[in-house]
Structure formats: structure tokens, C-alpha cells
């Protein structure tokens, strides 16, 4: 078997991004080929540590390919490439930024160095800012930029404090040192968490997400709402599980923040009457839940929750973007019955929504089941009760929205004549295929989730406290 | 298996019920007349009326109109066939209280069906009033009987009557309850002041507005048998039935005539008044009675 170096996943898009400038005409080709090659590279990655520039760790930059990174990369690159296939005229100017974004996101997942992470974070943010500018809501994008800049400042501040205390930037070394003497690092950890909280859309810091995603098109929605959010959460999962050591007090305070996000996000989504608003606020709430799990020692569950939400949100934002474009808006009333004339899209959207709401037959259910089960195993009943209440709210608004989109408007007999993608649309079949494949994947993993669960187990075998992970699988019931 | 003989007894019971009650209602008319200082008809006037009506041509409003009436009469006859009287128990072992109540309700429902099928809104209004009233008097009545059943550990009517012969009448155990049951009985018989659903001047005799000729005749028969069932139930459940037939009949007549006399001297209530009365007085008394009874006789464990 081939054994490819993971740096390719970062370098290749970067090189393409800059060479593209010379070949404007075939920019799209660069984008598609580049992202497809990246999938190919990811498939042939071997787990291990890769040193950059020949320095032994903890010196120099290393790239770390473990199961966690590998499957995150796989999902990220597949989703990204799928989005690139859908690229339209509008996005052609964004080829370079897209490729840079891809490189930065891959780097975020792979890197084993905290400062390197900061660099990738900044590159990703700047790429995102350029991408976001394509929706022409500049003041919203400005809001994003300010929030992002404060966030990264806080991250770097925290990192500086940590460096002062421990004298290293290597993640593995940092973990060793921190585990040995954790005291005094709390302020830095809090600062880093807040820095990243801006990116993962935790609540008091996520106003930018509302501004951007409310107006997102079929391109920005999946990119910012699903891919960026997911990758940032994976980074949080890496940092707050593998590297930082927190005492119970910090954990509690940060969990409180995530809980507020969960409750507030669900309430805001419940109140919304527009498709993309519902999606974005529910995304905020989900981010709260994911962060909560990661912080409280359930990283494996958090991991599959991130991946499953990422996929579902991707499909939904994609279709919501097209719908809003065709119908000239995305209020429920305007879109009533839109799926009647677009049953395939409707099917994909429905599956993704039901999976997100955690209904059986879909992957989301398996995740939610294991999540609650693991919480209950540690004899905590209040947290599951709270999460279930949030799911109740989520299920109601999700179904209300989906049913509204299926229902024929009063007095209409033939169905609403909004074609999500007209027959003339260039990417019609690509959208069909991608949304169908992803939603069928959600069903497939819902019916046979055991592989996905065992990957999660391999990626995040034991919890932070060393508790073994117990999973309910379809095959064998309960198992460790 | 039920012997043919007991079916014969049962049929005889139904026939006797009709004969006796029709005769008694003639007496009732006489008494009412005397109270109102009239002469009144002869005591067998009701027999005359029924035969006369049955021989008259009439109009019908369709097959449901006919069917409902048949159900009404069949329900009444079927109920009477189960009714024990003193030592005479037609269908031994099956004179279950709930069964009799529900079978009697089938007769009531048949009557309502027929009235509704007449197409006359006055009949529908009358039925509605009747059924509303029905909730008012059946509810306390049945709760009281359920208390009795719980106490005597049997729901057989003859069984309850027989136990009262030994342990004393229920009226001594639950005086308030018997008062309520009597008010309910008075309502069931459709006597004033509870005859709002018949109110001739308001709803033109309510459910009966469209009945004439043989329909009225059949309805009359059904009504008399139903009255027999209601009073017999009261006597059996609250007044200890009777050791002998004579004792039973004596109690029967006493109850019936008391009700008639009361009806003769009262005015009619308006429908709201009836409804409010029933949901205040009898139900309140019933709650009190049930509490008292449970304290005195049933153990709260």
C-alpha cells in the first residue's frame, strides 16, 4: 500500500490555490481536481506522527494522524469536495480562497502544535471572510471578522500564558507537563476556550453566525454552517480532551456556558419562522451540546455527534440555500409546499432533519441513544433530562418546518411551482446525487451503525477520566 | 342451562309488570284528579287507551322511527324479564344490577332514536333535556347502588334484597342516600317538577311529539314496563324487597303513590333549574352519604 504524507492534504490545495492564479480559465477544474485528489490522499493516509523539517518532537512542527484525525479528515474532504462539485459561476472567483480554506481546515485537524493551530485558525478565518463576502452582506461579515479577531487574540493570549508556564507549544508535551502540574493554567485554558467558542458558535459569542448564515446561499451555508463549525468542534475535541487538563471548577463553568447555549439556541430556533434561521439556531444549540459532551468527558460520543450533525446540517443548508434562492426568501409561508414539486430534495432534507432531531432509522438516533446512555451510566439524571427536553423542542420545530415544507398551501391543487433547481440548471444532477447520497448514508449508518461506533471507540477509546466507553450497538446490544 | 320454565316465568313477569303498572297508573290518574278536585277517569282507563291507540291508523316517519320504537319496547320487556320480585326470581343468577341498568338504557336509547328519526326538532330538544336530566339522576343513583354492591358483596338484585331481609333495609343504613334515590326515581318516572323534557306547552310533549296511534300505544306499553322496572329496583335495593309478594307489592304501591302525590302538587321546573338542582342537591347529598357510609360501614384501610 502507498503511504502518503499528510502534509500533502495541506500543501496540495495551497499550491493549487496559487498556481490557479495563472490559469484563470480552468479555475473550476483546479478546485474540483484538487479536492478530489485530497480525498484520495486521505484514503491512503497511515496513522502515525509526521515530523516537519526533521526536528524531533517536542521541537518543530509535527502532524498527527490518529483515528480521530483520519476520519475527521475523510468526512471533511468528502463534504468539501462535494461542495466544490456544485460550484457555480458565482463562486469561481472564490477558487483560491476555497482551496486555502481546505488547506487550513486540514491543517487544523492534523497539526500537533498549538501555535501552528493558531496559524491555521487565522488562515481559515481569513479564507472564510473572503468566502462570506460573496453573499454581499458586508456588515455581517465585518461582525464575523471582529468576533473572529477577538477570538484569535484570546486564543493567542492564552497560548502565550501557557507557553510562559510550560515552555512548549507541542501538544503532546503540553499535555504531559500540564497533567503533571495543572495548577495555574486555568486562566489560559479559559481564554483559549473563549477564543475557540467564537468559532464553534457558543452562545454569547455567536451573533456573527446569525448574521452570516441567515443570508447564506447554497455555498456559504454548508461551508460555514456545517463544515467550518464541524471542524472547529473537532479542534475543540482535540484540545480539550487530549491536551488541556481542567479542574472540576473550570469544567463546570465552561459547561454552564454550553448549557446556556443549548437551551437558548433551541428556544431561538423554536421562535424562528425562516428555514435558514431555524437551521442556524439549531446549529448553535447542537454546538452547545457537542461542547458539553467534550468538556465533560464524553469525547467519543461528541465526535460522532459532530460528524453526524455536520452531515445532516450540510444537506439541509445546501437545500435551504437553493430553496431561498429560487423562492426569493425562506420564510415558512413562502416555501409552503415546496417539496411537492421537488420530492427528491424533500426526501433528503427530511431525512437529514429527522436524523438531526434524533429519530430512529437515522444515524442521529443512534448517536443520541449512546449519548444519553453514557450520561446515565454515570448516574446523572438531570443532564439527560435537560438534553431530552431540548430534543423535544428541537423535534417539534424541526417537524413543524419539514411538514410545512411538504404541505400544500390552502387551496392549491397542483403543488407549488417552485423548482428548487430548474431542468436547465447545470448542477441539477449533482445536487440530486449529493443530497441523496448523504441522506442515504444517514439512513445506512442508522440501520447499521456498528462500524461508525467502533470507529468512534477507536478514535476516542477511553474517556478523559479513564472510564471505558460503553456503546449500544445494533448488533450486540451493550458492549465495551 | 336456562330452563324453558324460567323463560316462561320471565315472560310472565313482563306481562304482569305491564298489567299491574298500567292499572296502577290508572289509579294514579284518579288520585291526581282527586287532589285537583276533579272526578278523573276510571282506573282501567289506561287499558282502554292502549287498545284504542293500537287500533288506530297512524303516520310514520320512516323505518328508523319504527325500529327505534321496537328497540324501546324490546329493551323494556327484556329488562322486566330479569326483574326479581319477592321470592320470584325469573332468571336465577343473572339479575345483575349493571346488566339491568344498561339494558334499560338501551330501551331509553331506542326511544330517543325513534324520536330523533321523526325529524321534529322539538323531539330532539326533548330528548336532549331528557338525557341531560338523565345524567343528573342516574349518577347519584348508580353511585349509591355501587356502594351497596360493595357493601353486600353481590350485584345480584335478588341477592341484595335477600340480604336486606336478614341485615335490615338499606334505608336504615343510608337514609340520605334513599332520599337521593327517591328524588332520582321521581325524575326517572318523569313526574313533576322534573318533567321538563315532556313539557307540553314548551316543547309539545318533547320526544313524544310525533307519536300517535299505535306508536303512542307501544310507547305507552314500554313506558309502563320501564316504570315497573325502576320502582322494583328501588324497592329491591333500598326497601328490602319483600319476604312475600304482598309485602313487595305493598312497598311498590306506596312508593309509586307517594311519587304520584308529590307530582300532583308540584309545579314544573325550567330546564336550567332542573339541571342546577340535580347537580347541587342530590350529588352533594350523595357525596355526604358515601362518606358517612364508608366511615360507618366500610373500612378505610
Amino acid at each position: 500500500m502507498m503511504n502518503l504524507n499528510p502534509v500533502l492534504t495541506i500543501a496540495l490545495p495551497l499550491i493549487l490555490a496559487f498556481t490557479k492564479i495563472m490559469y484563470r480559465r480552468i479555475a473550476n477544474l483546479f478546485l474540483i481536481v484538487g479536492s478530489l485528489i485530497n480525498i484520495f490522499v486521505v484514503m491512503f493516509l497511515k496513522e502515525g506522527q509526521y515530523l516537519m523539517g526533521g526536528y524531533r518532537p517536542p521541537f518543530g512542527i509535527i502532524l498527527q494522524v490518529d483515528t480521530y484525525a483520519l476520519y475527521s479528515l475523510l468526512v471533511l474532504n468528502v463534504l468539501f469536495a462535494a461542495l466544490m462539485l456544485l460550484v457555480t459561476k458565482k463562486a469561481e472567483n472564490l477558487t483560491s480562497s476555497s482551496l486555502i480554506a481546505l488547506a487550513a481546515l486540514n491543517g487544523l485537524i492534523l497539526t500537533g502544535d498549538l501555535f501552528n493551530l493558531f496559524v491555521f485558525l487565522e488562515i481559515a478565518t481569513i479564507a472564510a471572510l473572503i468566502l462570506v463576502s460573496s453573499i454581499k452582506k458586508y456588515h455581517q461579515a465585518f461582525n464575523y471578522m471582529v468576533a473572529g479577531a477577538i477570538g484569535s487574540t484570546f486564543y493567542l493570549l492564552g497560548l502565550g500564558l501557557l507557553y510562559k508556564q510550560y515552555g512548549t507549544l507541542n501538544m503532546a508535551r503540553m499535555h504531559e507537563l500540564m497533567a503533571a502540574s495543572p495548577s495555574g493554567s486555568a486562566v489560559a485554558v479559559i481564554l483559549i476556550f473563549i477564543g475557540l467558542a467564537v468559532e464553534i458558535k457558543l452562545m454569547p459569542f455567536s451573533s456573527w453566525a446569525a448574521g452570516v448564515l441567515k443570508n447564506a446561499d447554497e455555498w456559504i451555508g454548508p461551508m460555514i454552517g456545517a463544515i467550518y463549525g464541524g471542524v472547529m468542534m473537532i479542534v475543540v475535541g482535540r484540545l480539550f480532551t487530549d491536551i488541556f487538563v481542567m479542574d472540576a471548577k473550570v469544567r463546570l463553568m465552561l459547561s454552564l456556558l454550553t448549557l446556556i447555549t443549548l437551551v437558548g439556541g433551541e428556544a431561538a430556533a423554536f421562535q424562528s419562522r425562516k428555514v435558514r434561521e431555524v437551521l442556524l439556531y439549531s446549529g448553535v444549540a447542537q454546538a452547545g451540546l457537542e461542547a458539553l459532551l467534550i468538556l465533560n468527558g464524553y469525547p467519543a460520543i461528541g465526535f460522532i455527534l459532530v460528524l453526524s450533525n455536520m452531515t445532516a446540517k450540510y444537506v439541509m443548508f445546501l437545500l435551504a440555500g437553493y430553496m431561498a434562492e429560487e423562492a426569493g426568501g425562506d420564510d415558512f409561508d413562502r416555501l409552503t409546499g415546496v417539496f411537492r414539486s421537488n420530492p427528491v430534495h424533500g426526501f433528503a432534507f427530511t431525512v437529514a432533519g429527522l436524523s438531526l432531531a434524533g429519530l430512529p432509522l437515522f444515524f442521529g438516533f443512534i448517536v443520541k441513544l449512546n449519548l444519553l446512555y453514557n450520561l446515565m451510566l454515570s448516574h446523572s439524571y438531570w443532564l439527560p433530562a435537560l438534553i431530552l427536553s431540548a430534543s423535544l423542542v428541537e423535534g417539534i420545530y424541526m417537524l413543524r418546518m419539514i411538514l410545512g415544507l411538504w404541505r400544500l398551501p390552502e387551496g392549491h391543487r397542483g403543488g407549488l411551482q417552485v423548482r428548487i433547481l430548474g431542468s436547465s440548471h447545470r448542477r441539477k444532477y449533482a445536487v440530486y446525487t449529493i443530497s441523496m447520497v448523504l441522506s442515504l448514508a444517514l439512513i445506512l449508518f442508522g440501520l447499521a451503525p456498528d462500524n461508525a461506533l467502533s470507529i468512534a471507540r477507536r478514535a476516542r477509546g477511553a474517556d478523559t477520566d479513564g472510564k471505558p466507553l460503553v456503546l449500544i450497538t445494533m448488533k450486540g446490544g451493550i458492549g465495551q | 342451562m336456562i330452563a324453558y320454565q324460567s323463560i316462561g316465568t320471565a315472560l310472565g313477569m313482563a306481562l304482569f309488570a305491564w298489567l299491574m303498572q298500567t292499572g296502577l297508573s290508572g289509579v294514579d290518574r284518579k288520585i291526581t284528579a282527586r287532589i285537583q278536585k276533579r272526578r278523573g277517569p276510571v282506573w282501567y282507563q289506561n287499558f282502554r287507551d292502549v287498545f284504542k291507540l293500537l287500533n288506530k291508523r297512524s303516520v310514520t316517519h320512516g323505518w328508523i322511527f319504527d325500529l327505534g320504537l321496537l328497540i324501546a319496547l324490546a329493551g323494556a320487556i327484556g329488562t322486566a324479564m330479569f326483574m326479581p320480585m319477592a321470592g320470584i326470581i325469573p332468571l336465577q343468577g343473572y339479575d345483575n344490577f349493571f346488566m339491568i341498568t344498561y339494558l334499560a338504557a338501551l330501551g331509553v336509547f331506542g326511544r330517543a332514536l325513534s324520536a330523533g328519526a321523526s325529524g321534529n326538532p322539538l323531539a330532539a330538544i326533548g330528548v336532549m333535556r331528557g338525557l341531560t336530566q338523565n345524567i343528573g339522576y342516574k349518577l347519584p343513583y348508580m353511585v349509591l347502588v355501587i356502594v351497596l354492591i360493595n357493601y353486600y358483596k353481590t350485584s345480584s338484585i335478588s341477592g341484595i334484597a335477600a340480604l336486606q331481609q336478614v341485615q335490615g333495609w338499606s334505608v336504615l343504613k343510608m337514609p340520605l342516600g334513599v332520599l337521593v334515590a327517591f328524588i332520582s326515581l321521581h325524575g326517572m318516572l318523569g313526574k313533576k317538577p322534573f318533567d321538563t323534557y315532556l313539557a307540553p306547552s314548551e316543547v309539545a310533549s318533547g320526544p313524544m311529539v310525533e307519536f300517535g296511534g299505535k306508536y303512542l300505544g307501544l310507547l305507552n306499553i314500554a313506558h309502563e314496563i320501564a316504570v315497573f322496572v325502576e320502582i322494583s329496583l328501588f324497592v329491591n335495593l333500598f326497601l328490602g324487597g319483600g319476604a312475600t309478594l304482598a309485602e313487595f307489592l305493598l312497598k311498590y304501591m306506596a312508593v309509586y303513590l307517594l311519587s304520584s302525590c308529590l307530582g300532583a302538587v308540584m309545579g314544573r321546573l325550567r330546564v336550567e333549574q332542573v339541571v342546577r338542582f340535580y347537580y347541587k342537591v342530590p350529588i352533594g347529598l350523595t357525596i355526604l352519604q358515601v362518606l358517612l357510609f364508608t366511615l360507618l360501614y366500610g373500612g378505610v384501610s
Binding site: E122, L129, I130, V146, A149, S152, T153, G160, Y163 | -
Partner: protein
């Protein structure tokens, strides 16, 4: 002392971001904030009495009397990134001005 001074510069920047609604003022605040941060990180590696970590004819080998060079390199990167961010921000400012004719976010939001 230097740490506190640079941190106060950082807080000054944040204060500007919280209180100002004018886009250019906000960009300036951002820059002030970043400068504060960069100064702070540089001071982290500073050690009293040590010299700049530059190999020269005078100091031909990396002996122990250098200050920590890593924070300085971090800051170098950070400055570059800061420039990028500022550029994007200014580009936004131009776009916003073209769209709305003013740079006061409060007015723009009020108009929307």
C-alpha cells in the same frame, strides 16, 4: 511591568471595540488590541540581562544568554496575520461605504 503595560494596551483595544460603532475606529481598535497582544507575547520571552537571539560574529554560537527566540517568531507570524486581517477589514469598510454611504454601523443597522 512591560506585561501589564502591553495588556492594558490590549484592553484598550477591546474597550474601543465595545464602545465604538464607526468601522474605521473599530479597525484601529483591532490593531491596538493586536499590538498589545504582540507586545505581551514578546515580553514573555524576555529575560533580564540577556541579549537578542541573533547569531553574529560577536556571538557565534547559541549560548544560554539569548532571550527566548520563540515568542518573537510567533509575534512575527502574528503580525503578518494581523496585516491580512486588517486588509480584509479595510476591504469590507470600502464595500460597506459603497453600499450604505456611511461607516457608522449604528446608523447602518438603524436603516436596515
Amino acid at each position: 511591568m512591560m506585561e501589564l503595560l502591553s495588556l492594558s494596551l490590549l484592553f484598550l483595544g477591546i474597550y474601543g471595540l465595545v464602545t465604538k460603532h464607526h468601522i474605521l475606529k473599530m479597525i484601529v481598535s483591532l490593531n491596538v488590541m493586536e499590538t498589545g497582544l504582540n507586545l505581551f507575547i514578546t515580553t514573555l520571552g524576555y529575560q533580564e540581562g540577556q541579549i537578542a537571539p541573533i547569531l553574529s560574529s560577536q556571538f557565534p554560537s547559541s549560548a544560554l544568554n539569548f532571550v527566548d527566540p520563540l515568542p518573537q517568531s510567533l509575534v512575527l507570524t502574528s503580525i503578518v496575520i494581523g496585516v491580512g486581517t486588517t486588509a480584509v477589514a479595510l476591504a469590507y469598510a470600502i464595500k460597506i461605504f459603497k453600499d450604505h454611504g456611511c461607516l457608522d454601523l449604528e446608523k447602518i443597522e438603524g436603516r436596515l
